[in-house]
């Protein structure tokens, strides 16, 4: 029972990631692509958690934390590049 549910969840996450990839390729504007990348990160985290439940191991929990950190930093970097055109500022501008 739980195995079937986890498999269905994994397939749904895979479909979501595929749809987000289509949005990244087609996406009319740059913020669409950034949001789609962030969505792919969240779905990757969720699917790794599901795989970790299926395999009954705790070895993947660090992977989840690292993916969360890297997805957070990547989204911030992309948004700042779109908003200001510069990612790391040399001196305080305000």
């Amino acid at each position: 029972m739980i195995k079937t549910m986890l498999t269905i969840a994994l397939i749904s996450f895979a479909i979501t990631i595929a749809i987000a990839t289509v949005r990244i390729i087609l996406g009319p504007s740059m913020p669409d692509r950034v949001i789609a990348l962030d969505m792919i990160g969240v779905n990757l985290i969720a699917s790794i958690a599901v795989i970790s439940i299926m395999l009954k191991t705790r070895a993947y929990l660090e992977v989840i934390l690292i993916l969360g950190i890297l997805s957070f930093i990547g989204t911030i970097a992309f948004s700042k590049y779109i908003e200001r055109g510069v990612i790391i500022e040399r001196k305080r501008s305000r």
């Binding site: 790391i88 500022e89 305080r92």
Partner: protein
């Protein structure tokens, strides 16, 4: 144009410490679990990259007044130096030792001299990654 980023700065001031703590935990989880010097150093340097992203270079350098090139050099020196430590006892280069010790609070703990080597690797990774990020972000 004034950009309001109060939420980002407030979140970063808390999240940086979580990332640093997780990096140290990865560093100490050693060779029995996923972790070690390289990955711990990468996570620590991602915390520094987040600081540089949210604040600017001058502000961060006022709070963290280290020259990261010197940190990388010190890490490489430390890693090679632990290798020489094995030579002093008549063993091959980079021989590592470990043992079980009874510590006052922690109880029986396994201490390995590979920890010093891993510390050198972590220092090197942090220094090199932050130096690369700062170099490629220079104004064109």
């Amino acid at each position: 144009m004034k950009i309001n980023d109060v939420i980002l700065r407030t979140v970063t001031k808390i999240v940086v410490f979580i990332i640093l703590t997780f990096g140290v935990e990865l560093f100490f989880s050693g060779h029995n679990d996923p972790g070690g010097g390289f990955i711990g150093g990468l996570v620590l340097s991602s915390a520094f990259v987040l600081l540089y992203l949210v604040f600017d270079i001058e502000t961060v350098h006022r709070g963290v007044p280290f020259d990261f090139k010197k940190i990388a050099a010190f890490g490489a020196f430390l890693a090679v130096f632990t290798g020489i430590g094995g030579v002093l006892f008549g063993e091959p280069f980079l021989t590592q030792a470990f043992g079980l010790f009874d510590l006052p609070i922690l109880g029986p703990t396994e201490l390995a001299s590979v920890l010093l080597f891993e510390a050198g690797v972590a220092f090197t990774v942090v220094g090199v990654v932050v130096t690369i990020i700062l170099s490629i972000s220079k104004d064109v």
